[in-house]
Symmetry: C2
Subunit: 331 residues, 2 copies
């Protein structure tokens, strides 16, 4: 049992200050229970010895660790970094540390990580989880849990309603004269994907558009690229992709086939994570991932303070950002 730390303990401070251990503890946790002069004497002794409260011992005694965990399916997807940063910033405001889990889109890995975190966090934030409802509910039963982009009744959740943006996308394409549109599905366990697809379907019905849905894929540049053949085979004149990364792959694939965008084909992404860096600049549905992260942590902290899990369902609306990959349907 080799300890690297010098390990100044509460006892040593107590001895130095000539008080009982409990008083040292109080000086740090409930200073108002002690005479100001006593507190000062203890603090001075602590300072002198370089005492630092032992986080682990405190956690064992109180059951509180001051940590939360954030689990995401793919850090490398530009949708998540802003969410992660916002989550951390908000957690920091309450002096919480953040464990980060990357599941590589694998439900099993997600389950495993949640188990690992379980013992040392007050609460969890799951962003776009790929896990089953049952497993999520099981974890939520153990400790406070907030979902982002997953709609499970009874669990506090923050939903980025890309549906509103996708509707605008459909209307935009309809106005441009497109009649047949491809939807490139994302992961089939993704709530956002179902939301986008169904928003598109219902909008299409109203607008008299024909929708062709392609099989689910893991949303990556490569996946998007590979799907171009299937897209062109449909004879559609426009496509809406599950996300910008996929759209970016599609854009590259179209370029290789010398299909001019937007002259011969129109393309719309989702999440607006690429800004105007593609060429042509990608028309996309806005995202509000940073806000979602911040809000999720706020909800979690409220739950921790109140001790009660409040049913809550926050919806963040989105809109279409029109750039240069959409144009009139070819004659």
């Amino acid at each position: 049992m080799i300890k690297r730390d010098k390990g100044v303990t509460i006892s040593q401070v107590a001895a130095e200050a000539g008080v009982a251990r409990s008083s040292v503890s109080r000086a740090f946790r409930h200073p108002d229970m002690l005479l100001p002069e006593t507190v000062e004497r203890i603090m001075k002794a602590a300072e002198a010895l370089g005492y630092v409260p032992n986080h682990t011992a405190r956690a064992l005694s109180t059951g509180r660790h001051g940590n939360i965990a954030l689990v995401v399916p793919d850090i490398a997807n530009p949708f998540f970094p802003p969410l992660i940063a916002a989550t951390q910033l908000e957690a920091d405001r309450s002096d919480f540390c953040v464990f980060l889990g990357n599941t590589e889109e694998k439900p099993a890995q997600e389950d495993k990580l949640l188990g690992r975190f379980a013992g040392q966090v007050e609460g969890l934030v799951l962003a776009s989880p790929r896990l089953s409802d049952e497993r999520i509910l099981a974890h939520a039963a153990q400790r406070p849990l907030v979902l982002i982009n997953r709609d499970i009744k009874g669990i506090p959740r923050v939903l980025i309603d890309s549906g509103s943006g996708v509707r605008q996308a459909a209307e935009h394409l309809a106005e441009l004269g497109h009649r047949k549109i491809v939807y490139v599905n994302g992961p089939h366990t993704s709530w956002s994907n179902r939301e986008r697809r169904s928003a598109l379907r219902s909008a299409a019905r109203k607008l008299g558009l024909e929708i062709v849905a392609l099989p689910p894929i893991v949303p990556t540049y490569q996946s998007g690229h590979r799907t171009v053949d299937a897209i062109l085979e449909t004879g559609a004149t426009a496509a809406i992709a599950f996300d910008d990364i996929t759209a970016q792959g599609i854009l590259a694939g179209l370029a290789e086939y010398n299909v001019a965008v937007p002259e011969r084909f129109s393309l719309i992404g989702c999440d607006d994570v690429l800004g105007a860096v593609t060429y042509p600049a990608l028309t996309s549905v806005s995202n509000r991932s940073a806000e979602a992260g911040r809000l999720a942590v706020t909800l979690l902290m409220e739950a921790l303070q109140s001790g009660a899990i409040r049913e809550a369902r926050y919806v963040l609306e989105t809109h279409l950002v029109i750039r240069n990959t959409t144009g009139p349907a070819p004659a």
Copy 2:
């Protein structure tokens, strides 16, 4: 002291299995010290009761928590997500959890986070820290610490030698006939930035190139964009930017001034995080951030196992990836 967990303890399992508490502990930590049949009986009892070892109690007793922390200056910078993902994956292989700290390029925040993590991690990985040598050494004295892209003697470190790639960049520009080149500095506390600048300077001397260095900036799209005026004022025909994000901003700025790239101006980035998504596709110096993350954790785990901090300095070479933002110097 309200505990939400049902809190099945080692004692309950011991009672159920009809053994001492220590035997239960052994069944989990050193099964080979017990009779196989005893182990099995204990495990069955544990299973039945839904026992799960209490991480905190174990940590208090052993001083080992199974956590490491990774601190980065800016998650949103695409250089880091692959590094973070690789770090986690490697930590996962040893069943370690990863705390993530985002410092927003602020040394003070870095120091604060390190203090917060201190009590509950075995070791630290600092990627591109902006903190002073003194503070880093102080933290390294407390517990194992591995650096990425920071060269401090005595501390194990993984360095991505962008110098080799920058040298190639200088040669590439020289061959294309450029004589005067701007270097757009990154953060002045960045080791990588100093490395790149000095590699460029020495290469320039050999090649007879003139280098104009611009003041340090925080590497963002906006910063790059704002620096375009200064770049054009120098009368140079090419620029090498601290990183791709900055280069991307510069590219946008040049486009606004109708400065054709690469016909009238050549531009090279660093880190190659954008792939071929800019237009024109950006010539850039390759990065090996994922490898760096993986290696750093490997070193950290070795240090934890051996208990000794081995002086180590790993250098990962880079090279120039030529795309479409570099061309012959205008006549």
